[in-house]
């Protein structure tokens, strides 16, 4: 349904009014504020950006954020593709409940995510924490905790992209491959994976954006130690509250840049489907 000539001919004043209202709303709520952060960042030329890039603690925070995000994306991609295949291609009791529970991380407050992880993996009073700690494995207030929190919040994103694609491509080709003697792995690699490739790519890009930007859950579990467990989003808060607005704007600008880049990438590579 590419074009509807009838809409183009039938435009009343209401159409223009609604269009104007929508544009004004989005301009005031999103476009102008985002633009101002960019403007504030470069108010003194490159000083703010150079200022944060010269600070080894901030560079550490950024590199920690990137590392954690990459680990989280890899875990969520493997888990997401696996669980999507199970949900779509197999039958098991409790499937509907599982499918609903998998969406839970999207609507749980990041602070509650942090609290939940502390209650289980906290070193002093957690359910498993003390045992893990005596085995020499600290989770909370250390990098593993940050990874867990990040994986938690981004968990459903790959699944939400891959499940609809899997349903749409159907099972015929896979059945044909199997009947011709391909084993499960060959079928997955040669048939399934190529057909869900773009779904996986979108899921990965979205997870990456979400993982780089997680704040609340990480704040609870990381301990926020400068130069050790402080991530980029925590730097923004800390800089702002310590009246280093330039540093806060510059770090926020870098994070926003990556987020917007992710959106644009997804919007460009997503094929012109369904319309």
């Amino acid at each position: 349904m590419a074009s509807h000539p009838s809409t183009r001919t039938r435009r009343g004043p209401v159409t223009y009014l609604v269009r104007l209202l929508v544009i004004a709303y989005l301009f005031l709520l999103v476009a102008w504020p985002v633009y101002l952060v960019g403007k504030n960042t470069f108010a003194d030329g490159m000083d703010n950006i150079n200022g944060i890039l010269d600070d080894p603690d901030i560079v550490h925070a950024i590199s920690l954020t990137v590392q954690v995000a990459i680990i989280a994306v890899v875990i969520n991609t493997l888990f997401g593709v696996g669980i999507s295949l199970l949900l779509v291609r197999y039958d098991f009791p409790g499937k509907r409940l599982l499918s609903a529970l998998l969406d839970m991380p999207l609507s749980v407050s990041p602070i509650v995510v942090g609290l939940a992880l502390v209650l289980v993996y906290g070193g002093r009073t957690g359910w498993f924490g003390p045992a893990l700690e005596s085995a020499g494995f600290q989770v909370i207030f250390a990098t593993p905790g940050i990874v867990l929190a990040t994986v938690f919040v981004a968990l459903p994103l790959v699944i939400r992209e891959v499940v609809p694609v899997l349903e749409e491509v159907g099972e015929e080709q896979e059945q044909a491959a199997r009947s011709l003697g391909a084993n499960a792995w060959q079928t997955f690699r040669r048939i399934t994976l190529p057909s869900i490739k773009w779904g996986v790519v979108y899921g990965v890009v979205l997870s990456l954006a979400r993982s780089l930007g997680e704040f609340g859950a990480v704040k609870v579990v990381s301990g926020n130690v400068l130069g050790e467990t402080r991530t980029a989003t925590l730097v923004v808060e800390e800089k702002y509250l310590n009246f280093d607005k330039g540093g806060a704007y510059a770090t926020a600008f870098l994070l926003a840049l990556v987020a917007v880049a992710c959106i644009i990438i997804v919007s460009v590579i997503r094929p012109k489907e369904d319309r």
């Binding site: 529970l101 991380p105 489907e273």
Partner: protein, 282 residues
């Protein structure tokens, strides 16, 4: 169409397997076991721990924690604001979706990207972004930092994509013949919208509204810099939970967190019901 990519919810056709799948084989059963173990360790056991910790002190301790004056004020503010924001989103979100699907003009693609920005932007950055236009140094001269309208604004920003992205695909799929038939029979555009378009959009609007409400209630990051977190005034539930955690009062944190979890769970159940109804309608 650029992206349903960031859509918090895909159209109703997805998610629900239409064909019955195969039973688990030995290899897929093993994979299922591993996946469920990971999911339990990461999500189910920790969330259960919140509820268990909240109930450990019995009903009276739980009730005391959540009816504490400051906590009750925080819950009231959060739920009330999320509700108001959801109402705005129902109207504005539907309108935005309508413009994106039915209207054509130069720069529409840019609007598509603007819609997704609140979803991808780190929440702390979202707070800073809003502060730059509505804070002390506002070029508009509007300074709402540390007031209740700031909480409303932050919720409005972070929940922007939900209704738009759930309504948009449904609107795009609507058959135009019926509308054109109604118009040729003399129905006004308003009547067509109210009697033909709106009923088909209602489930999608409801789904988007539920998601937007859940997101608002659980919001934290964007408020940190914007609302000042003043007790009894601009402190939301998540901030309240965080201060309990920081005071090492995990029991009361868990009690309040259980309220939020109950809301999230209710929303998920509601969504499941709505999606099933949408699928049945085809």
């Amino acid at each position: 169409m650029t992206s349903t990519a960031l859509s918090p919810d895909r159209p109703a056709t997805s998610r629900r397997p239409v064909r019955a799948g195969r039973p688990l084989t030995r290899a897929s059963g093993l994979g299922f076991g591993v996946a469920m173990m990971w999911f339990s360790l990461l999500v189910l056991i920790p969330l259960a721990a919140v509820v268990v910790t909240a109930s450990a002190g019995g009903w009276s301790a739980f009730w005391q924690a959540v009816t504490n004056e400051q906590t009750a004020a925080a819950i009231e503010l959060t739920v009330g604001t999320a509700f108001a924001v959801t109402l705005v989103n129902i109207v504005m979100g539907t309108m935005i979706a309508w413009v994106l699907v039915r209207d054509r003009f130069f720069g529409k693609r840019a609007l598509e990207i603007l819609i997704d920005i609140p979803f991808a932007l780190p929440t702390i950055v979202a707070g800073l972004v809003l502060l730059s236009l509505y804070g002390r140094t506002s070029p508009l001269g509007i300074d709402i930092a540390n007031t209740r309208p700031a909480v409303f604004l932050a919720f409005l920003f972070v929940t922007l994509p939900f209704v738009v992205r759930t309504v948009q695909p449904v609107l795009a799929e609507l058959e135009r013949d019926v509308e054109e038939a109604a118009m040729s029979l003399g129905a006004s555009r308003f009547t067509v919208f109210r009697r033909i378009i709106l009923p088909s959009l209602t489930p999608a609007i409801a789904a988007g509204a539920a998601l937007s409400f859940a997101r608002g209630v659980s919001e934290y990051g964007s408020l940190v810099l914007l609302s000042g977190n003043l007790p009894m005034k601009t402190e939301v539930t998540s901030v309240r939970i965080l201060s309990s955690i920081e005071n090492d009062n995990l029991d009361s944190a868990a009690a309040v967190a259980t309220i939020l979890l109950a809301i999230s769970f209710a929303v998920i159940v509601l969504l499941d019901v709505i999606q099933r109804r949408m699928v049945r309608r085809g």
